[in-house]
């Protein structure tokens, strides 16, 4: 393929005792010439670099000497010149540095060999990610790393359009901040190709574009991100185009999702009617005989319907099998000087509820241009997003009673399943199908682009200069429409029916960074790495919105058909501008690859923080000891890696609102007077607000032994967030009812481990059997918060469901409730245990104690994978043990069914497990519509579970077959997610949107 034209020659002369070596340097991988390779006479400063064709000419003394070929990212080639072997210099083959490609920790700012890195991190390659799932990077990461948690949302289930809450090593911030500020203060930092990005971008990113993902967990690895790093960092690198002739690849995922309704335990029509009868729905309390006759008739009507076989299963109505397909086409190629990649990704995710879709279209162009010591690379991606949400929540179907028919006699949809007669004081029951069949919609669309440009100057082999600039523009548009015939507008005036809302979000952000990187091995023992740089970023976000009302028609829904704006409504406009500027340095020193020392320092300034506290220092120190490199371990071939490491540092958190530091004012608006307009305080700022910072300690060990068959990582960590930043309710006399301030601290202690055992390990034959096990456990508590959260505690005590409390020494995940001794068989009343241990029938909220903790004692995954030639099989199970849950289904759908809730369908246990004269040992109180059940330990249950998170089978077609099919390579894979779920507690999950089980077929072809 590559013909070496270079002819080497040398001229010897008696007078001139020099020779000229000529040749070409090529890449071992693909035979392409390498440009800019330094060719040096060893031990001198005499040398040259290869030109555009990879050729060089070097004058050497007519004597024995050594020539060193070096190139960034490649292993040095040292070749001895014997005065007679000049011809052998005509073709020099260099191979890419194996370590550079394999065990490297990519922090987004610098790269470091895993072996000499002192931080706690985990890196996963695209194959590993794809092997466990194909929906998105984060979903896979959750299966691979125990410290990375994607919170399951009982409320939103598997709604593809709701962004999950994500945590690395638990929470560092007080609950309630997300509600207050809209940003999740526990969310890790996401870095995509060296630039900060959003969770949504990562969720939308087509997995097939990803090259690797690195999770940075402890201070030593995250501190380089300073004040944004206390929640951990997820670094994602997309694939860079490969050299060579134009190569086209296609990757496709085809998935089928089905709603998982197994957690619903609703009554059938007969049961529901019986329950209502027992609850006294059909008994008139006023002793009015006419009223009693009406109720009897009503019951008989319903009974008749049941006898006719009416037992409607409403839950099947809003769900559908969701067919998801995603495609990615990537064309790449080029030679050494210029490389290009052009990709197109299409994603069409159909949720398990009707009208629940998410379509993404993404185009990207990657260009790399390299000349001599300079490299320019640019990644441009453009994305479109189209989102549809159902307008009737799943809960409304779960509420519908089974003794109603879906359709009327004419197969039409009635607006009401039951509408009380004139003068009857009863609630009408709306038909969920009515609102669903109307012309309502809830859509969003977005368009954005990101352009990231990187300039690199390889000053010398050791020294590199890099400048980056990234620009992201994202415009989103959200529109909702409720038809005028929607039941919500039953009581509205003619001109107030129907509602249209439009929200526009415009966001522009840019980030720039200049850095110098240095790395050199001195005296073959002292490895020194250093990075220093400056970074600035700017994020500007504007939100515009308005609503319109007064639609007269269901069908014609353009906003122009609206009658006007809702009375008293004004346009929304919100803006936030956040800026940050930082200076950072990182240094690493390794002595003989044995003793490791890393340090980081970063000075951050951010506009969110007050003038009194604008700048903040972040530092970290990490040390490590590669025991396996010690001389005394030299003869040991049992351990191929035995490293202990430790780190300490204080990364911070700035996921907070833009203008919390200073006071803002607004016009009175509602009135002016003879003096003109007036202005009053809008929000009180706190200029002395201190940055939330987390002191992070970590000790860990990495082990690989028994011929690489066992791989272990262990970490123990201790985090202390001090001060916490929280929105505190204040006495009204302060002039504001809440204020953002620093209050107290939170301590977290935890450990995590990942173990991989390969009972069969024959990589050369392509046969590997792995068993993996990972586990994590953490415990948190508050300290020094005193009475700051008294108001939150009070509102939690009085609310029906709140079981979280804020007390010193208390855990953020503790469940607080009054202990219950169960239902007294004699009376059917609940017997409570007071704080002092005595029993009482009287509920006193002040007897609350910790009755459980939602944080499991241990949680993780066990999995196994088998590679046999081209075939791979994998299976990952998630286990959770030792946690508790407050079973809100029991609390709200078994007891606490009031006069209004009784019209909703309920959990079967509300009928069967209730106390009565005949069922004295029941777990639940007798059926009553007026009795309020208080939060007690009776509803707190052990939450142990085993979930079949990911099963997969894959096959990589052998080259022979692929060639026959005239393609480069081909693989197929079948992945099943959330296949089964065994739990110790039965609680309704997916209230507004059900959970899904998914099977995906993935296909990858390279032409």
């Amino acid at each position: 393929m590559i013909i070496i034209l270079a002819v080497s020659s040398w001229v010897a002369s008696a007078q001139v005792s020099t020779a000229v070596l000529k040749g070409t340097v090529i890449d071992a991988a693909d035979g392409y010439p390498l440009i800019g390779v330094s060719v040096m006479l060893n031990g001198t400063k005499q040398g040259t670099v290869t030109d555009i064709d990879g050729s060089y000419e070097l004058k050497v003394p007519q004597d024995k000497c050594e020539v060193v070929f070096s190139y960034v990212g490649y292993d040095d080639v040292v070749k001895a010149y014997t005065t007679k072997n000049a011809s052998s210099f005509s073709r020099i083959v260099m191979s890419a540095n194996a370590e550079q490609l394999a065990d490297v920790v990519v922090t987004g700012v610098y790269e470091r060999k895993k072996e000499s890195f002192t931080g706690a991190s985990a890196t996963f390659k695209t194959d590993q990610l794809k092997a466990v799932g194909s929906s998105n990077v984060l979903q896979s990461l959750k299966t691979l790393d125990p410290s990375f948690k994607m919170m399951e949302s009982t409320q939103f289930g598997s709604n593809p359009n709701v962004m999950p809450d994500i945590e690395i090593r638990g929470k560092t911030s007080v609950a309630g901040m997300k509600e207050e500020y809209g940003t999740d203060p526990n969310q890790p930092l996401f870095i995509l190709d060296g630039f900060e990005t959003t969770l949504e971008t990562i969720m939308n990113l087509n997995m097939n574009r990803v090259a690797s993902v690195t999770i940075l967990k402890d201070a030593a690895s995250t501190a380089i991100y300073g004040s944004k790093a206390s929640n951990g960092v997820v670094v994602i690198e997309t694939k860079a185009p490969a050299r060579g002739r134009l190569q086209l690849s296609y990757k496709g995922d085809f998935g089928l999702s089905l709603a998982d309704l197994s957690d619903y335990n609703l009554m059938n029509s007969r049961e529901k009617l019986e329950f209502e009868t027992l609850a006294g729905v059909y008994r008139d309390n006023t002793n009015d005989p006419f009223a009693q006759i009406r109720l009897d008739n009503l019951r008989n009507e319903r009974l008749k319907e049941i006898e006719r076989g009416v037992d409607t299963y409403w839950l099947s109505e809003p769900v559908r099998p969701g067919f998801t397909h995603k495609h990615n086409i990537y064309a790449e190629g080029g030679e050494d000087k210029i490389r290009y990649g052009i990709g197109l990704s299409l994603g069409n995710v159909a949720g398990v509820m009707k009208d629940s879709d998410r379509q993404t279209l993404e185009g990207n162009v990657d260009l790399i241009y390299r000349t001599g010591k300079f490299q320019f690379s640019n990644k441009l991606s453009i994305n479109w997003l189209d989102v549809t949400n159902p307008t009737v929540s799943f809960a409304e179907y779960a509420y519908a009673n089974p003794y109603y028919r879906k359709y009327n006699a004419d197969d039409g949809i009635d607006k009401y399943l039951y509408y009380p007669e004139e003068g009857i004081d009863d609630y009408p029951v709306a038909n969920p199908l009515w609102n669903a069949h109307l012309n309502n919609w809830d859509t969003a669309s977005g368009f954005g682009f990101t352009n990231n440009f990187i300039f690199e100057w390889f000053v010398t082999k050791e020294l590199r200069f890099r400048a980056k600039f990234g620009l992201t523009k994202q415009d989103d548009d959200e529109q909702t429409r409720l038809s005028p015939q929607h039941t919500q507008f039953d009581d509205s005036g003619e001109t107030e029916k129907g509602l249209y809302t439009h929200t526009q979000i415009k966001e522009l952000s840019y980030e720039g960074d200049v850095a110098v990187t240095f790395g050199k091995l001195f005296a073959k023992k002292h490895m020194v790495n250093a990075v220093g740089g400056f970074n600035f970023s700017n994020n500007h976000r504007q939100v515009y919105g308005y609503s319109a009302t007064g639609f007269t028609d269901d069908q014609f829904d353009a906003p122009s058909f609206a009658n006007g704006y809702p009375v008293g409504d004004s346009p929304d406009y919100n803006e936030s501008l956040k800026r940050a500027a930082s200076f950072y340095i990182n240094g690493g020193y390794a002595y003989a690859e044995r003793y490791l020392l890393d340090f980081n320092y970063r000075l951050d300034g951010a506009s969110m923080f007050g003038t009194g506290n604008r700048f903040r220092n972040t530092w970290s120190v990490g040390t490590g000891w590669n025991i396996h490199k010690e001389p005394f371990m030299k003869d040991n071939d049992f351990f191929s890696l035995l490293k202990v490491r430790g780190s300490i540092g204080n990364p911070g958190n700035q996921n907070f609102s833009a203008y919390q530091a200073f006071s803002t004012y607004k016009f009175n608006g509602w009135m002016t007077n003879v003096f003109g307009t007036g202005v009053i305080l809008n929000a009180l700022g706190n200029a002395d607000l201190a940055w939330q910072e987390t002191t992070n300690y970590d000790i860990g060990a990495d082990l690989t032994f028994w011929g690489e068959r066992i791989n272990m990582t262990l970490d123990y960590y201790w985090k202390h967030t001090d001060p916490l930043l929280a929105v505190i309710t204040t006495p009204g006399s302060m002039g504001v009812t809440s204020v953002a301030m620093n209050a107290g601290s939170q301590k977290t202690r935890g450990w995590e481990t990942s173990i991989r055992v390969s009972p069969v390990y024959k990589p050369s034959e392509g046969i590997i059997w792995n068993i993996s096990f990972n586990a994590t456990s953490a415990k948190s508590e508050y300290a020094n918060i005193g009475n700051s959260f008294a108001a939150l505690n009070e509102s939690g005590k009085s609310s029906l469901v709140g079981t979280t409390r804020y007390y010193d020494g208390g855990s953020p995940t503790a469940i607080w409730a009054v202990r219950s001794a169960g239902i007294d068989p004699a009376t059917g009343k609940e017997l409570f245990i007071k704080k002092d241990g005595t029993y009482s029938f009287t509920y006193d909220v002040n007897d609350e104690v910790v009755v459980g903790d939602t944080q499991p004692k241990v949680e993780g995954l066990v999995g196994t994978s088998l590679y046999f030639k081209g075939l791979s099989v994998g299976c990952y199970l998630r286990y959770r043990w030792g946690g508790q849950v407050f079973n809100s289904s029991l609390f709200q759908k078994v007891e606490n069914i009031g006069t209004q809730e009784v019209y909703n369908n309920q959990d079967k246990r509300a009928l069967y497990d209730r106390w009565s004269e005949n069922n004295r040992d029941a777990y639940f109180k007798g059926i009553s519509l007026v009795q309020r059940t208080e939060k007690s330990s009776r509803f707190v249950m052990d939450d142990n579970s085993l979930v079949g998170e990911s099963f997969n089978v894959g096959y990589e077609f052998p080259d022979k077959i692929a060639r026959k099919m005239r393609i480069g390579a081909m693989n197929v894979q079948l992945t099943m997610s959330d296949v089964f779920r065994a739990t110790s507690v039965r609680v309704e999950r997916g209230i507004d949107y059900p959970f899904a089980r998914t099977v995906t077929m993935s296909l990858g072809i390279t032409f």
Binding site: V459, T460, E462, L463, F465, V516, G532, G533, F534, F536, Y573, N574, E575, L577, R579, A580, A581, F583, L603, G605, A606, S607, T611, R614, A658, F662, S663, T664, Y665, K666, F667, M671, T672, N673, V674, F675, G676, T677, G678, V679, I680, L681, N682, L684, G685, N686, T729, P731, G732, S733, M734, G735, V736, T737, V739, M741, N787, A790, A791, E794
Partner: protein, 482 residues
């Protein structure tokens, strides 16, 4: 290489120092304090904003003028029918602990202190500002802001504090003199009193050159269209308003001499023509369009652009079948505007003739009904302190013996078209208070100050006896919990 590092570090340091300015971000959709208070106009707008907010329903726009506090002062007949009277029956029975009234009191409290915070932010910025103020504006702005802060604290003390004459050292309310992110402690009533007096005294000194002292209230805009800031002085806490507040606070805190000195100073100003008694012709000379609030006598009023809501929302007889606030018929007939010499009540009293209109068997209260000229400033005024009160204060404080003050009461009465009282008693003085300041939110405080029964009826046994349960409102739970 070392050089490059040195350059890098130098560059980084340079950029970081210029960074601070770059990091100083100002919001566009809100006004930042720095921007707003960078001009004199900004301070004036903020001060005016506070005055405007006093018109809120939670404060003097309803709760502390015609509604909540006036019900507590026994001014209205309150029925028991829940569908008509809602929660008012609870309040008339002084059940402050119901969820509804706790929430309402909480709102009032929060709003008052929110405005105090605004005053404090204004004052603190005034303290450190480099803005050049024109004329006497700096002193006037500062004086008015101090007076507003004192007035709001004083009214919170009158509501939530102890009966001062009984228990001046009881723990009452906090007094906020500057913006703070940590709560201030509750002070004893007497400590609050000292702070109120201190602020008012300072305000009075700052307002010494108030144009009201020379040019009067100037209740029309300058003809040349220039700033109205120094006009309409009766709509601001002017020098005499502060003096009148000092008279009011002096009496409340038992400082009889101060009360007498300050009230007579205002009375003197009135005789000098600054707050003259209302022209008889504007009252009874124009029966179709009387000046019902006696606007010339109002020393300080709020200006509420929809003041008509007060009449329409609470007193308008066409509100029937909903609730309408009005006086008990027997109380009116036997005492307030009846009873002749024994009570001082006569139906030719101007205050009866312009403010009470009979519809059916009842008479309804028209003080807040609009004048014909829709644009008149009178239609926006909610009186906060008036000349009549100065006469009553002077009467009560002239001597320890209330009888000595009869002359002041008679002077007032002669300007109301009714004859002299032969002697003055506490009860007769109270009746005069009812006539003069009905619907202005002062009656409850008068009974609380005197620790006497709340007059709701002409039958003494029906009048609630003085007690802490009646007079001392519970502090909002946000104060006690946090």
């Amino acid at each position: 290489m070392k050089r490059i590092f040195a350059y890098m570090i130098a560059a980084a340091l340079l950029t970081l120092t210029s960074c601070d300015a770059w990091l100083n971000v100002k919001p566009y959709d809100k006004m930042s304090e720095e921007e707003l208070l960078s001009t004199e106009a900004g301070f004036i707008k903020l001060l005016n904003g506070i005055y405007i907010e006093l018109n809120s329903d939670m404060l003097y726009g309803a709760a502390l003028s015609v509604e909540m506090v006036e019900i507590m002062g026994g001014a209205y007949v309150i029925g028991t029918d829940n569908s008509v009277w809602g929660n008012y029956a609870d309040l008339a029975a002084y059940k402050y602990q119901t969820d509804y009234w706790r929430a309402r009191l909480n709102e009032t409290w929060n709003k008052a202190y929110a405005l105090i915070l605004n005053c404090n932010l204004l004052l603190e910025n005034l303290e450190k500002t480099t803005v050049k103020f024109s004329g006497d504006n700096y002193r006037v702005i500062k004086g008015e802001a101090l007076a507003l802060r004192a007035m709001l604290h004083f009214d919170m003390l009158r509501l939530f504090g102890p009966v001062y004459s009984q228990n001046p050292d009881a723990v009452a309310i906090p007094y906020y003199k500057k913006y703070s992110v940590t709560p201030n402690a509750l002070l004893m009533a007497s400590e609050v009193a000292a702070e109120v007096i201190r602020d008012l005294n300072e305000a009075r000194i700052l307002l010494a050159n108030d144009p009201v002292r020379t040019s009067g209230t100037m209740t029309s805009a300058p003809a040349d269209g220039s700033s109205t800031f120094m006009y309409y002085r009766n709509l601001r806490l002017n020098y005499y308003a502060v003096t009148a507040l000092l008279a009011r606070t002096g009496l409340y805190f038992g400082d009889r001499e101060a009360a007498y000195d300050y009230s007579t100073e205002v009375i003197q100003a009135s005789s000098d023509g600054i707050f003259p008694f209302v022209d008889k012709n504007l009252v009874i000379g124009s029966p179709d369009d009387p000046d019902r609030i006696f606007s010339s006598e109002v020393i300080f009023a709020l200006s509420h652009s929809q003041r008509n809501k007060l009449f329409k929302g609470y007193y308008d007889p066409s509100r029937i079948p909903n609730y309408v606030f009005r006086m008990d018929n027997d109380l009116m007939n036997n005492i307030v505007y009846g009873g002749g010499a024994t009570t001082g009540g006569h139906q030719d009293d101007y205050r009866y003739r312009v403010n009470w209109v009979a519809t059916g068997a009842n008479r309804y209260f028209y003080k807040y009904s609009d004048m014909v000229d829709a644009g008149s400033i009178q239609n926006t005024m909610i009186p906060m302190i008036r000349l009549g009160e100065m006469y009553l204060i002077a009467a009560e404080s002239r001597s320890a013996d209330i009888a000595a003050g009869v002359g002041f009461v008679n002077q007032l009465r002669s300007n109301r078209g009714v004859g002299n009282l032969s002697a003055l008693t506490k009860e007769l003085l109270q009746y005069e208070y009812i006539r003069e300041m009905y619907g202005e939110g002062q009656l409850f405080f008068m009974y609380k100050r005197m620790y006497s029964p709340v007059i709701v009826s002409s039958t003494a046994s029906k009048n609630p006896s003085p007690s802490n349960a009646v007079f001392v409102l519970p502090l909002p739970s946000s104060e006690t919990d946090n």
